[in-house]
């Protein structure tokens, strides 16, 4: 496997591919140009496309997210980088009130083909204001599409779909996955928004995962395999559109569902997945739906504490083991 790429490199690669094919694609954000991003996720873009297409901004999230919206409404396809997803709170008006609503409330007169990419999630010890998994914030707002890739190839494919989409798309890039590696994607690889991937087949339990919890679930599934438990792992890849067909089909095969999400249990997206399965797939179930989620506390700094409150391989494995023991 020679064509291996890191998740971090895949971000810049995915954007660059779209910038090459469509001159209306531009990048905007803090330290993304000559500095190539604080997470080095825009390496090479400034050198290849120059300051006319890769724009450094002041620390001014309302200013540049709002400006990106205005550019998107008038013929451009801006890709805005919000350095940390926690900073959504600094420009939430645009994500909650403006970008997702302007098409609807104008009766379809305008469209907003914007991508807002952001480094999301914990595991790197950045403390409570730089570690949150906030995909559920966006999930609470009708009018936003949400992608959260777990592999480098999906980063490239979902980035292509997001940038080509005429709808606003939030791309959550997981900080804990930046260093991970995988096969790169062939040219013109597009992963359509709203198509989950069954990344491991199994017959005993369905693990529904997103971004960082995909490798967690895969590791757990390997351990469980040694105990004779076959776990199927579904990588949602997107929260909106939400591919419930794939989830319900999987639960139809396994009859048990464990949802593994990094955002807090309180208000987490897993609650919606669980409610849909309860409404539409109750007859498929042989066990209660179970959620493994971030704890309902601000993210602690200390490594040991942070690990303790986020979903881990140990926790997922323990929960599945117990579920199978009680409901077989």
């Amino acid at each position: 496997m020679e064509d291996v790429i890191s998740y971090r490199e895949a971000i810049a690669e995915g954007i660059a591919r779209e910038m090459r094919r469509d001159p209306s694609v531009i990048c905007v954000g803090e330290d993304i140009g000559a500095a190539e991003g604080v997470f080095k996720t825009t390496v090479g873009l400034f050198a290849e496309f120059g300051p006319g297409r890769v724009w450094d901004t002041p620390i001014s999230e309302q200013g540049f997210i709002g400006a990106a919206m205005g550019a998107a409404m008038t013929g451009m396809r801006p890709v805005a980088e919000l350095m940390f997803s926690d900073f959504f709170a600094c420009c939430w008006d645009y994500l909650a009130n403006e970008i997702p609503k302007v098409r609807y409330m104008t009766g379809g007169q305008v469209t907003v083909p914007i991508v807002v990419r952001t480094a999301n999630g914990g595991g790197l010890g950045f403390g409570a204001q730089h570690s949150q998994a906030v995909e559920n914030w966006a999930f609470a707002v009708p009018g936003l599409k949400i992608a959260a890739p777990s592999t480098p190839a999906d980063v490239i494919g979902l980035m292509a779909a997001a940038i080509r989409s005429d709808d606003p798309v939030i791309v959550f890039e997981h900080k804990a996955l930046f260093a991970s590696k995988g096969p790169t994607a062939p040219l013109d690889h597009v992963v359509p928004l709203g198509k989950a991937a069954t990344v491991r087949a199994g017959s005993d339990v369905t693990l529904v995962a997103l971004a960082s919890t995909v490798p967690t679930c895969l590791a757990s599934a390997s351990l469980l395999d040694g105990e004779g438990i076959q776990a199927e792992v579904v990588d949602l890849r997107c929260l909106i559109p939400l591919d419930m067909r794939t989830v319900l089909d999987s639960v139809g095969r396994t009859s048990r569902l464990v949802i593994v999400e990094e955002n807090p249990y309180q208000g987490g997206w897993g609650g919606t997945v669980a409610s849909i399965v309860a409404d539409e797939g109750f007859q498929l179930l042989d066990a209660p739906i179970t959620r493994v989620a971030g704890a309902c506390v601000p993210l602690p700094f200390a490594d040991s504490l942070e690990k303790h409150v986020l979903p881990s391989v140990e926790r997922v494995t323990g929960v599945v083991r117990e579920l199978i023991r009680r409901w077989s």
């Binding site: 009766g107 305008v110 009708p142």
Partner: protein, 326 residues
């Protein structure tokens, strides 16, 4: 110097706006408009003067007090009133309402009801014009109340450092909602006095004189088209109604109200037209014509059907639908 014919056409537009706002108020009192409205009667000269200085392909962004801008940019009184009355024939198909009038056909790209939010958006439209190699400009019209919110300052700074072809046009009507802007702001002129902080030109102008607004806007637009960057204009004006429909505006001193009513933009323009030799009858004719247009608009809007219920599930996404899951 503006010739009589041109000034007369502006007067006509101002009267049309005034009559539409009066109709909106009456429809409210009759229970035919739900929610709220923020009428711009008294501020017509700002909208008409600004639009007159723009090309059809320039961008304009307004606030929830934005009926005057929508009409000045070509939206019909009928489409506006139908929108207020929740009708399918409304400007936004009944999905926006009074606070979100939008007429994208003439690049009036929306009315925004979160104070100050549209200033960065307008800056973005101006940025996009440059990126696309056009010489379009963008205008953000906003109230005095927007000048103390972060988005105002972030937009000014970004527009200044990127030298964007954008005009920030403040309609300073002295009151944010119920509180005088002067009582909560550290400078005398809440928009223009901030210009220096962003190394931008800022001018205070008479917002009740349509010619003054037109001249100032024309200069700012020319500057923006020439690549010289943004301008802040602060147009002093006054609303004839309260902040919104539930506000009788009793907090405004009677003497102040009388002084401003004496400087009603329609009266200012009327005197100018009479001085230019336009006969009184022509003005009267114009008023009657506006009355007829607005009366017909009210009749048509009343008769228009309500939106189909299915339309609640259209136009969330660009494909026209609202589907969020499989």
């Amino acid at each position: 110097m503006i010739d009589a014919e041109r000034l007369l056409s502006w007067y006509h537009m101002m009267v049309l706006i005034r009559r539409t706002e009066k109709a909106a108020q009456d429809l409210f009192l009759a229970g035919l408009v739900k929610g709220t409205t923020h009428l711009a009667a008294g501020q017509e000269a700002v909208a008409v003067g600004a639009s007159a200085a723009l090309r059809d392909d320039d961008y304009l962004f307004a606030t929830y007090r934005g009926h005057h801008h929508a009409i000045a940019r070509g939206a019909t009184p009928e489409a506006c009133l139908a929108e207020l009355m929740s009708k399918a024939s409304g400007l936004c198909a009944g999905k926006g309402g009074s606070m979100h009038l939008t007429h994208a056909a003439r690049n009036m790209l929306g009315s925004y009801a979160i104070v100050g939010a549209h200033l960065p958006i307008a800056a973005g439209a101006a940025w996009s014009a440059g990126l696309r190699g056009t010489d379009q400009v963008a205008v953000a019209c906003f109230g005095d109340g927007a000048t103390n919110i972060g988005a105002f300052h972030e937009a000014l700074n970004l527009a200044a450092v990127w030298r964007l072809p954008v005009i920030f046009l403040c309609e300073n009507n002295l009151y944010m909602e119920y509180t005088p802007i002067a009582s909560v702001t550290a400078v005398e002129h809440p928009a223009a006095d901030r210009a220096a902080a962003y190394n931008l030109p800022g001018h205070v102008i008479d917002g009740n004189d349509v010619e003054v607004v037109y001249e100032a806007m024309s200069e700012a637009v020319a500057r923006a088209r020439d690549g010289a960057g943004p301008t802040i204009l602060e147009a002093l004006t006054y609303r004839h109604y309260g902040h919104s429909r539930t506000d009788p505006a009793k907090y405004r001193p009677q003497q102040e109200v009388q002084e401003w009513l004496a400087r009603d933009p329609l009266l200012v323009t009327q005197s100018r037209l009479l001085a230019l030799g336009v006969p009184k009858e022509s003005l009267k004719e114009m008023q009657e014509q506006a009355d007829k247009v607005v009366e017909a608009a009210v009749t048509a809007a009343k008769a228009a059907p309500e939106p189909e219920l299915e339309s609640a599930f259209t136009d969330v996404w660009a494909d026209g639908g609202a589907s969020w899951r499989t």
